[in-house]
């Protein structure tokens, strides 16, 4: 079966000649879950940014659903990104709107849905992350764990096939981190592929899954 995501000979260097990694060759199948691990500064965020098209590799090919995203024109990038779910350590919620409107932002950007349908999807997404009835709340009234859940709902509401999460539990205590990971597992059970970057070994060991380990400028794939 074709991979959903394939990285072939991907290298990333920054202008002064700093090499982040070289010859990365990894693949992710439909419905897969992988941990992206490595010490701080190893390049986990950079690798996720390359897959998300936020940065371009210095060399190599990144195929997503058979399409080489390194060859995409900048004007095509928004369309590509609309089909990804991105989750960051900082939930990055917009403070000038309600929780529901934060989640709806993904659908507004994607467009093409009626208001009633958007509302229904937002309610469903919030329900999936355990925030039923919190749509009208203001982000400033949420706890750290709830804000992280809103960010997850925002990433999922448009129905992406691939979710990239960069240290999503970095700001949360252990219990909340396990809650969030449980949520990711549920999402994965629905057939969504996930790459979750983390350096929290206790969390990783609690949720066994294949691992892409960034070491010495390379990615080591561990089953």
């Amino acid at each position: 079966m074709d991979n959903l995501l394939t990285l072939t000979n991907v290298c990333k260097r920054y202008p002064p000649g700093t090499r982040v990694f070289k010859n990365v060759n990894v693949g992710l199948g439909e419905g897969d879950f992988v941990w992206l691990t490595g010490r701080s500064g190893a390049g986990k965020s950079t690798l996720l940014k390359l897959i998300a098209g936020i940065e371009r590799p210095s060399q190599g090919q990144i195929l997503v659903n058979g399409r080489d995203i390194t060859a995409l024109h900048p004007s095509e990038m928004p369309g590509y990104r609309q089909h990804l779910g991105l989750i960051f350590q900082d939930p990055m919620l917009l403070m000038d709107r309600s929780v529901a409107d934060n989640v709806m932002l993904s659908l507004n950007i994607r467009g093409g849905l009626r208001a009633a349908e958007k509302k229904r999807r937002v309610e469903r997404a919030l329900s999936r992350v355990g925030l039923d009835g919190r749509g009208d709340s203001h982000p400033s009234h949420l706890s750290g764990g709830e804000a992280a859940r809103v960010a997850i709902a925002r990433a999922l509401v448009a129905g992406p096939r691939l979710v990239l999460a960069d240290e999503p539990t970095g700001n949360l205590d252990a219990d909340l981190a396990h809650d969030i990971l449980g949520l990711f597992r549920q999402i994965n059970d629905f057939g969504v592929s996930l790459i979750v970057a983390s350096h929290d070994e206790s969390l990783i060991s609690a949720y066994p899954a294949p691992r892409w380990s960034l070491q010495d400028h390379s990615v080591i794939v561990e089953a």
Partner: protein
């Protein structure tokens, strides 16, 4: 969709922009209207005034001359003064109207004051007057263009001033709008970053800015049009004085449909265009950072 903060500072900034743009529209518009009114007046006088001294005081000479000269179609107005009428008029001009002795000593020939048609070119007018000067029934002929030249100088000055003011205020308006949009984008950078990460296109991000700018442009246009109308009314007494100085009738500068179209279409377009350019530039620079 990106929402703009609606705090007092934002409202104040928008208010300042609206007022500045309204004045940036109103001042040059007033100047252009004034210049247009003066231009019409100048054009109506562009033929200039010709004064003819007739060789004799017989009424038949003037009548015959009028028929002959008017047949050429170059004369717009004709005023004949007999020697006595011309002497009286000249005496009044000299301020000796009451002194009949002094007045009788004035040797003023019968005079025709005529205005050439507006469309007559200056060189054609000069040839015409030179030809009349050679006629036996005309002892002297002058082409008086002083008022015309004064009007033209003022007309040209106003036109230059209009260009200058338009450029300066347009530049200032664009700079203020651009600065305001850039400031707002810097403030909303986190929101823009989130939207970019979620796959928002440039159009999606810039739409609220451009729509907002167009609205500000429209409000400014309405206020600007009101200012032009008020300004036109306030200028009327000054124009009456100017008419007396120049000897040229000047129509009051009323905001016509052309001026209003320029204001109502130009202001939103310039505001939206400037905003579009600034937002696009900021987005590019955010992405390359």
């Amino acid at each position: 969709m990106l929402r703009h903060a609606t705090g007092n500072s934002r409202g104040f900034a928008d208010g300042v922009i609206v007022v500045v743009i309204a004045f940036a529209l109103a001042l040059p518009s007033m100047l252009w209207l004034l210049q247009g009114a003066l231009g019409t007046a100048v054009a109506s006088r562009s033929g200039g005034v010709v004064v003819l001294f007739l060789a004799d005081d017989k009424p038949g000479t003037a009548t015959h001359l009028e028929q002959e000269l008017r047949s050429g179609g170059q004369i717009a107005e004709w005023e004949y003064l007999s020697a006595a009428q011309a002497r009286s008029s000249f005496a009044q001009y000299l301020g000796i109207g009451e002194d009949t002795v002094a007045m009788n000593e004035l040797a003023v020939p019968p005079t025709v004051t005529l205005r050439l048609q507006a469309e007559i070119e200056p060189n054609v007018g000069e040839q015409l007057v030179a030809r009349w000067r050679e006629r036996s029934d005309i002892s002297e002929a002058w082409w008086n263009r002083d008022d015309l030249q004064r009007s033209q100088i003022l007309y040209r000055t106003l036109r230059r001033l209009g260009y200058l003011l338009t450029l300066v205020l347009l530049g200032a308006g664009i700079a203020i709008i651009g600065g305001s949009v850039a400031g707002r984008m810097a403030q909303e950078r986190p929101a823009i970053t989130v939207m970019t990460l979620l796959g928002a296109s440039d159009f999606f991000i810039m739409r609220p800015y451009v729509v907002h700018a167009m609205l500000l442009g429209l409000i400014s246009a309405a206020i600007g049009a009101l200012l032009v109308s008020l300004g036109a009314g306030a200028l009327e007494p000054s124009l009456v004085s100017l008419e007396a100085v120049l000897g040229v009738p000047i129509a009051p500068p009323r905001p016509d449909s052309h001026t209003l179209s320029v204001i109502f279409v130009g202001a939103p377009l310039i505001a939206a265009g400037t905003t579009y350019a600034v937002v696009l530039r900021q987005l590019r620079s955010m992405r390359s950072a």
